[in-house]
Symmetry: C2
Subunit: 197 residues, 2 copies
Amino acid sequence: MKKLTSDRRTRITRTLIRNAFLDLLKKKKIQDITIKELCEHAGINRGTFYSHFTDIYDLRNQIEDEMAQEVQKAMEPLLHANQNALTPITVTAGIFECLKNNSDLCVVTLGEFGDKAFLYRIINMGRQLCMETYSQYYQHASPTEIEYFYAFISAGCIGLMQKWLENGMTIRSEELAKMTESIIKNGIGFLSQDFHC
Amino acid sequence: MKKLTSDRRTRITRTLIRNAFLDLLKKKKIQDITIKELCEHAGINRGTFYSHFTDIYDLRNQIEDEMAQEVQKAMEPLLHANQNALTPITVTAGIFECLKNNSDLCVVTLGEFGDKAFLYRIINMGRQLCMETYSQYYQHASPTEIEYFYAFISAGCIGLMQKWLENGMTIRSEELAKMTESIIKNGIGFLSQDFHC
DNA sequence: AAAGTTTTGAAACAGTGTGTTGTCTTTCTT
DNA sequence: AAGAAAGACAACACACTGTTTCAAAACTTT
């Protein structure tokens, strides 16, 4: 039985590529990064790159997949937890915490030259979970209404996260989750409350 | 005095390029579109493309700029209107209406292979305007709170618009603006109200 | 420690898109 | 009708791509 990445050489190579990629992504857009310069920057052979990835976008996808798995893992305990304990705030806080733990990757992935669509993927992982909880309490609303509300707060959460990352994640993730909860519940009434941030 | 695009030939060429581009964008990602195939598809010479644009991304930027100007123009009357008449709902409705008028372009630009970042640009145009109105009523809130709330509802509006576009813009723009207003004001309380959609 | 396996490096290869240039033709303007 | 502007066409050097081959290095197994 073999491990998937048992070989030390493989791990080193992939790390070199990954770091070089994230490094280049700080300076330029993904479409301006060539495989040639990436390999030179990483100090590996171009042929070696092709034995791991098909192109630059495949590389990004794999890195994002790893990140997504991290988040998934972080949400696992929430899924298996007591149903009553599964509130939107715990889910949101879990995601926020996970983003913080991977902030080095996040800052790049979600930065100026990062992949905006990636955040949608992350947030959608907790989406179903959150909304099921909500819809229990609002059975009166029509599917269309829920759909649009859903779209609004999903995107809202993403915007909040981006702002949070932008500001260096100085607010605690629980605090941010509370804020999110409050905005969702109260709308602009949120601004009438006392938050310490 | 010369007009900027007075020449009929220029207009035709640019239209051909633009249409071919939007057409290709329905089928594939922008990074997979080569200038060569674009020109073949448009039926123009590759050299001609370079006399108008520097690369594919320059082409996209110019198209997006035109679109942004349309929105800007649509917002002009709102800016010069009576301050009291300037409510977030009128601004939002104006933007929605403009998007609808440019739906052919929107569907592509905001579609699967479109530019997600572009919507942020659009929404940010009405952002300042909206928030100034709001902050008059919530002077008690801290700048940080407003900042985060701002981030949330901005992104929320974008999400709502995307959903709207996704659903073929069947809801009237005034209706959508009302919905937006209601969600912002009431949060999830929105789902307790009666909307006909 | 030796033999076999896997990964990487180096170099070469044809293929393709890029960006530019020069010439000639068509179209617009006056 | 004449000059100006824009496009068509072809050619060019150049860069990156994706693949392949062979040898060296690193890992695994016995």
